[in-house]
């Protein structure tokens, strides 16, 4: 089985969020970049398929040369090879088109994406990719097993879960649950050493429309300080919630 894991290179959650160039760009100064958390679950699950079922795991990212350390980390975690499509990942449709080209050329049976990236929060690449390829698609995927050419997946729904079956080829939008947090793979020394020798191929992007453009960014208005109530003034809190905040 050939698996493609799509990785986003995102600022670490604890990063300070600031904008430069007239608020048109994210300020990368001093920011630590990581594999998007939703993608990490998918990557570890892919490595599980590699170990249990002999799958080949390729990781791909659409981004500039600055994303290569993140791809190397994925190789260190255990992916077999990496691909970087040399283009800025500015629009979800554009990114999906690039990934579709990689999937078509590579003949992948299973494409694992994270449901949403935590910088852009677009949540659209997995679905768009599936639609462009006309592949089966399961979003909010919290469990995945493959038997031959049939996949069984769980999808998180409001107040519960759905068990789904679909034939390969399949795209999933993965999240926590694909593996447990405690089972997430991290690179070990051996992984880091072998990552250096694994192939990281750079491809030029194919022509594709850019359908949306982030014109400007804004930070939310600064928050006013918390209104504290003493532990014996619960009436004060209830009043505030009712009369001031109007939420009860």
């Amino acid at each position: 089985m050939k698996i493609l894991v799509c990785i986003s290179h995102v600022p670490d959650t604890t990063s300070k969020i600031n904008f430069v160039n007239g608020d048109s760009e994210f300020d990368t100064n001093g920011v630590q970049y990581v594999i998007n958390p939703n993608d990490e679950f998918g990557l570890t699950r892919a490595i599980w398929f590699q170990e249990q079922q002999g799958a080949n795991v390729t990781v791909v990212n659409v981004g500039g040369a600055d994303t290569e350390p993140t791809l190397r980390k994925a190789l260190a975690i255990g992916a077999n090879e990496a691909i970087r499509v040399n283009a800025a990942a500015t629009d979800g449709f554009f990114v999906a088109k690039q990934l579709a080209e990689v999937v078509k050329n590579g003949g992948y049976d299973l494409v694992i994406c994270g449901k949403e990236s935590l910088d852009y929060n677009g949540g659209m690449v997995p679905g768009m990719l599936a639609a462009l390829l006309n592949y089966n698609f399961v979003n909010s995927c919290t469990e995945l097993t493959i038997d031959g050419s049939t996949a069984k997946a769980s999808r998180e729904i409001d107040g519960g879960k759905e068990t789904i079956s679909a034939s390969l080829p399949l795209v999933i939008g993965g999240q926590k649950g694909l593996v447990e947090e405690k089972d997430l793979r991290i690179p070990n020394m051996r992984g880091i050493m072998t990552a250096r020798t694994k192939a990281l191929t750079v491809l030029e992007p194919v022509g594709a429309n850019v359908n949306t453009k982030a014109v400007k960014f804004e930070k939310p208005a600064p928050k006013s300080a918390v209104k504290l109530f003493a532990a014996d003034d619960l009436d004060g809190l209830v009043n505030a919630l009712h009369n001031e905040a109007k939420v009860i």
Binding site: D158, E162, K176, N209, V226
Partner: protein
Amino acid sequence: MSLLIYAESAEGKFKKVAFELASYAKKIADSLGTTVTAVTVNAGNSSELANYGVSKVLKVTNDKLNNFNAKAYADVIKQAAQKEGSKVIVLSSTTDSLYLAPLVAVGLDAGFASNVVGLPLSTSPFQVKRNAFSNKAFNITEISTDVKVLSIGKNSFGLVESSASLSEEDFAPTLNDADFSVKVESVEKTTGKVTIADADIVVSGGRGLKGPENWGILEELATVLGAATACSKPVSDLGWRPHSEHVGQTGKPVATNLYIAVGISGAIQHIAGINSSKVKVVINTDAEAPFFKVADYGIVGDAFDILPKLTQKLKEFKANNS
């Protein structure tokens, strides 16, 4: 060229979010000099949609659509949009809508913006403000395609009543086997309890509650408020509460009216996930807990002492205010 909304229903009844979408779309329709059409699937009486400005309903009735199916539903919405010549399609941020939205967008060659907060800043060029960086910033996004698909952020636009006279039309889009290639084998739902996604109020517990055996006081508070219960990631990892209650960056997002955090210190990942909640109340013994920095109201004190008393106060409040 009316605006199209997908008015979601469950067991034949419209979800509240359907009326939010109608309210939102109606405002845009008014400014563009057009109207709002809703497409519904196996929903009952559509007349309530007219209270929020919908003037036409494309009513789809089809047994094959009894279970949600993203590809099939996306095909329904796509065909409805094509029938109406809609240039703007408004969807919600429910799990099902976010699943089908990208499929609708590709089907219509449309640009898509998710987590949209507020009405478009302009329609020519078409610009919307959306949440980004896990609720730590906004971005103004311009959609340059002829057709646009929007997913409105949860709880970001209220209900606006505006009466319209409604015409209903039975709509039977062409669906084929390929639309149903993903099969639902079973559905497990925790019944009876209000879900985090639907709740107006969420009561959430962290490690400060010391152990699963202490959750009773939190559940009682939730019951009196008609709230959903939630928990922090460590609590879920420790197995004190089910994974489905984990809210935060890698858990469920919360964008409710009132979020009450008990014994949760306020890790950045947790706050990122709940930051779209309108009012946040923090109860913690530690005055230095980071959560107080983003809270609207707070009590520095012991949950074991405060929660039962707060529950009692709220019972009295409800009794006096019903």
